[in-house]
């Protein structure tokens, strides 16, 4: 299995070990995203992630396959959480294996840049002042996504 969509936390080391054992590539690049302690609206106490289950799974699978074809990846894996998350919790993890570092860096970055704008997850921030608000899509994320088109 290459796509994991789950409520519970995950072990970054276990996913990394799987990748390097699954394929004897020469280059491994991984990314882990954690819940920030602050946003542009103030300090955070946590996040809640909503998603569209059927579409999320399908899009993450397609995204990994597209990355593998485009960057000649030997293997890949994507983990994404939903539900309530606390500050410093891991949210997302992507790992790829390729023959060379260029393809590995690009493949992992392509996955993350595309995941941000094209996979149906929505973040809601819980602020320390008690406010709860939906995170707005950022133009910078759209620009990063555009680079890969």
């Amino acid at each position: 299995m290459q796509v994991f969509i789950q409520k519970e936390s995950f072990d970054v080391g276990a996913h990394y070990d799987f990748l390097v054992r699954a394929f004897s590539g020469a280059a491994v690049v991984t990314f882990t995203g954690y819940v920030r302690e602050y946003s542009d609206q103030g300090d955070l106490t946590g996040l809640e992630l909503e998603h569209y289950p059927a579409m999320t799974e399908r899009r993450l699978q397609e995204l990994g396959e597209e990355a593998a074809a485009r960057f000649d990846l030997k293997t890949w894996r994507i983990v994404h959480r939903y539900g309530r998350l606390e500050v410093t919790d891991p949210i997302v993890w992507a790992g790829v294996v390729a023959d060379h570092r260029g393809a590995a860096f690009d493949g992992c970055q392509f996955i993350m840049d595309t995941l941000k704008t094209d996979v149906p997850f929505w973040k809601r921030e819980y602020l320390s002042n008690g406010k709860v608000q939906w995170v707005e899509a950022k133009n910078n994320d759209n620009l990063r996504r555009q680079r890969w088109r």
Partner: protein, 84 residues
Amino acid sequence: MITIRFFASVREAVGTAVLTIDEPFEGKHVADLKSWLASRYGDVWHEALFQPNLVHAVNQVVVDPDTALHDGDEVAFFPPMTGG
């Protein structure tokens, strides 16, 4: 029958997560469905479904509002995605 799902701020605005309708929408477009929902449920729905950044999906694929509908389709409306 068409199933309609709403997510995140759009779900909150319209006050429902899922709706099924039996109206004959065969051959009509996603935009027609939005107009039908807005005329049936009122201004709040109109505002939510015609916001400029709304994302439209049919059968879990993002589409343009001029996409034709077919019986059994699952349509979804949601704001820009903010994962990762």
